[in-house]
Homo-oligomer: 454 residues x 2
């Protein structure tokens, strides 16, 4: 059952139990879907994360690790003993196992690999050799395949004997003599056709990608052709694994978020879960480029004005309006884009709104101070106009104020939109930029005037 209020109730009960009240943790977690547990655990303190995880049985632990973002899985895997990790690994499909072992330290991963049976270990090592963002890194090797001419009854028997390993599959591939996929038969087709027919009679043409292609390219193929499973082949065209539609969904969502955030200079994804310092460091390169561009623009304007010494200070202030507008616009659109995307993917539910607005504004403030300081230093060192001595500091302080305000605006506008039922994406861009341009310029001029009048 997925229902906003029920979920909120479950989350509150969990927090209550962790605080020592209400139901026991072990009873509670059995009622919660592992995907929800994995999401909520991201917001818990280190010790509570571990308490929740320890209260789960092996199957539930495996499921939580399967649903968790890498940051959480990594924290958990670090604390698991090799024996505990081995237990979990036994219940997971190969592609998930490889992702988990990549997060463990090398010694532990090696111990786990030695403890599983030889055939599986070989499969896991092969899988681990592929680049994580390639089709090979995304695929599972635990896929059912039969030779051309196999009867449906025999194909079903094969699926039964493979057992748990292929329990998440949805069909089988038909291979020619060279191991190359020439057909795909969904489980539904196996169920609805006579066991005496051959797979050749019901199979559809498979869609195939090379094991080295980018995972986004593979996921796009699944979307383009509307597939449930995509065949992955080696350089010789032989089947080595398959990628399912639900693997593709995650990749496409992640890549879409990544593209959006890269365009506004605020990658990596899941910014609202990052420590403030990491957010600031991640976004500084864009701001540095903007400051450099703004200073270049100010220099061009200086040239165009052509009367270096004789003009009033207020005119010189105008030369730096492009920096203010550029920085404030960037910081504002970063915050608003992060929130719009986090709303869309469910990363920020209403109960985290206030915390996210506070931390984003703080991050914007730090960025504002750094960029203001940078501008101050560069202007003080290079400006040859006849402006008063306090001028560079006034410009720097005014930039910091305008940028902090824009970051706050960039968070508040999407939150207000969501609460009032307006589409945040429409307002977060155009409207935000315009308001931040006008307010930023006014704030900049006001702060600078105040400081220069003293």
């Amino acid at each position: 059952m997925s229902d906003q209020e029920k979920l909120q109730g479950q989350k509150e009960s969990l927090l209550e139990s962790l605080a020592g009240g209400g139901e026991s943790l072990a009873t509670l977690v059995r009622k919660v879907h592992s995907a929800d547990l994995a999401e909520w655990m991201q917001d818990l303190a280190e010790e509570d994360v571990w308490r929740v995880f320890s209260s789960l049985d092996v199957d539930a632990r495996a499921e939580v690790l399967e649903h968790a973002e890498d940051a959480l899985s990594g924290r958990l895997v670090e604390r698991l003993t090799p024996h505990q990790l081995k237990e979990v690994v036994e219940t997971l499909p190969a592609d998930e196992v490889v992702d988990l072992l990549a997060l463990a330290d090398e010694g532990t991963a090696e111990q786990v690999l030695r403890s599983v049976d030889d055939e599986r270990a070989r499969g896991l090592r092969e899988l681990a050799a592929h680049a994580p963002d390639s089709a090979g890194g995304l695929m599972t090797t635990e896929v059912v395949s039969v030779p051309v001419g196999t009867r449906i009854g025999d194909a079903i028997k094969l699926i039964r004997t493979e057992g748990e390993e292929v329990e998440e599959g949805q069909g089988l591939f038909v291979l020619d003599g060279g191991g190359r996929p020439v057909g795909y038969v969904s489980d539904r087709l196996l169920l609805t056709h006579s066991i005496h027919s051959t797979v050749d009679e019901v199979m559809v043409e498979p869609i195939v990608v090379g094991v080295d292609v980018d995972q986004e390219e593979a996921a796009t193929q699944i979307e383009h052709y509307g597939l449930t499973e995509l065949a992955v082949v080696d350089a010789g065209g032989a089947l080595v694994g398959s990628i399912s539609a639900d693997d593709a969904i995650e990749v496409l969502e992640e890549e879409a978020s990544e593209d959006i955030l890269k365009i506004v200079g605020a990658s990596p994804v899941h910014q609202t879960r990052l420590p403030i310092l990491e957010r600031v460091i991640g976004r500084l390169p864009l701001q540095a480029v903007t400051v450099a561009g703004g200073l270049a623009t100010a220099a061009i304007i200086d040239l165009a004005l052509g009367d270096g010494g004789g003009r009033p200070t207020q005119v010189d202030l105008l030369r730096f309006v492009p920096i203010v507008i550029g920085l404030a616009g960037n910081v504002g659109i970063q915050s608003s884009t992060i929130l719009v995307r986090a709303f869309a993917t469910g990363e920020v539910e209403p109960d985290r709104e206030v915390a996210v607005v506070a931390t984003e504004t703080l991050a914007g403030g730090v960025i504002g101070l750094i960029c203001g300081g940078l501008s101050w230093a560069v202007i003080a060192a290079t400006d040859t106009s006849a402006a008063p001595a306090a001028f560079p500091l006034a410009v720097g302080a005014a930039i910091a104020a305008a940028v902090t305000f824009a970051a706050m605006l960039g968070c508040v506008i999407p939150v207000v939109c969501r609460r009032t039922g307006i589409d945040p994406a429409v307002v977060a861009g155009p409207f935000l930029i315009t308001v931040s341009d006008i307010c930023g310029t006014a704030l900049y001029l006001a702060v600078a005037h105040l400081m220069l009048e003293r």
Copy 2:
């Protein structure tokens, strides 16, 4: 087989055949996947679209309509006779049929509905009553369900008797006495368990959404819980349909594109397929807001300068730099975002790059002319500074030049990035804005100076 070069070859053969050479159309189209046909047909002239479609058999027609974007399906459905449409409708799942009939004129849709059997017609009418962007609008009603306690052997028999209607399903829902879903059993579990077991023994807890929730919310549930099928229920909790992972992929991709493009003020999606006039009209609201914001900023600066009559024209030019930077930045980032997204979703393959750069630059040029003209008119009507009579026209012309240049830059940079293997998303945002700020300001000042010197 999906392989870039093979596909390019197929597309060229198709164009050759349409031009009267090479293989016959009917032979060619049999070798091409309907998803690729549906994509290529978007770029063909009206008559050629129809020639390709007419050369397909009924099954292939249905598949092309299933894969096509609404714009193409709409054009095709309009030309189909009720009889032809009925043939196609018979081979498609209910959710696809409803989407198609929504594109046909009412008389034709009614004729088709009367020609299918009563039970299906009733299902289709119910489905059509849901909002297109709700879970109800996305789901299919052709879903298998069994009561609690059903033996697996009997469940399989039921799937067999439902026949083609449920051929695209991947499992079944287990219902309580009130028709409410209490379990889900994948086909793989049916295949791997004894026919004498009951579904209760193997079912997993189903995830459920209400029929009226937004389709994005439903798709997000599928991603969050890693589902192959999501149950859709009415207000009483009874099962009315299901949504599959591959329906969810399309929704999430579409919504991600929509969010990105809304933030930069360039929705709807698939901009590169729109006529230039529609692109311009769609993006004008944001530019109008930017012009208004820029004029407001210029007024604030006018106030701050406080010496209306006495300052040189060059200082007045600076008051409008924010408009130039704002507009050029917007137009540039719109073009670059459209291209980055179109690259990611496969909307623009290398063979369309040149055409897209040309049309996007043209659209940017038209937007530049309109915004320049608007600025000219407003400045001429309201400005009270002592600038010469040619000043408003010079500002307008300079704005138009800077905006057109930015649009061109916004297209060329992503294309160059893709060709040289640089990630276009990283460069398209920060780098683009900075270059467009510097060049835009320089171009603006240069054009204005030239015009004012004459």
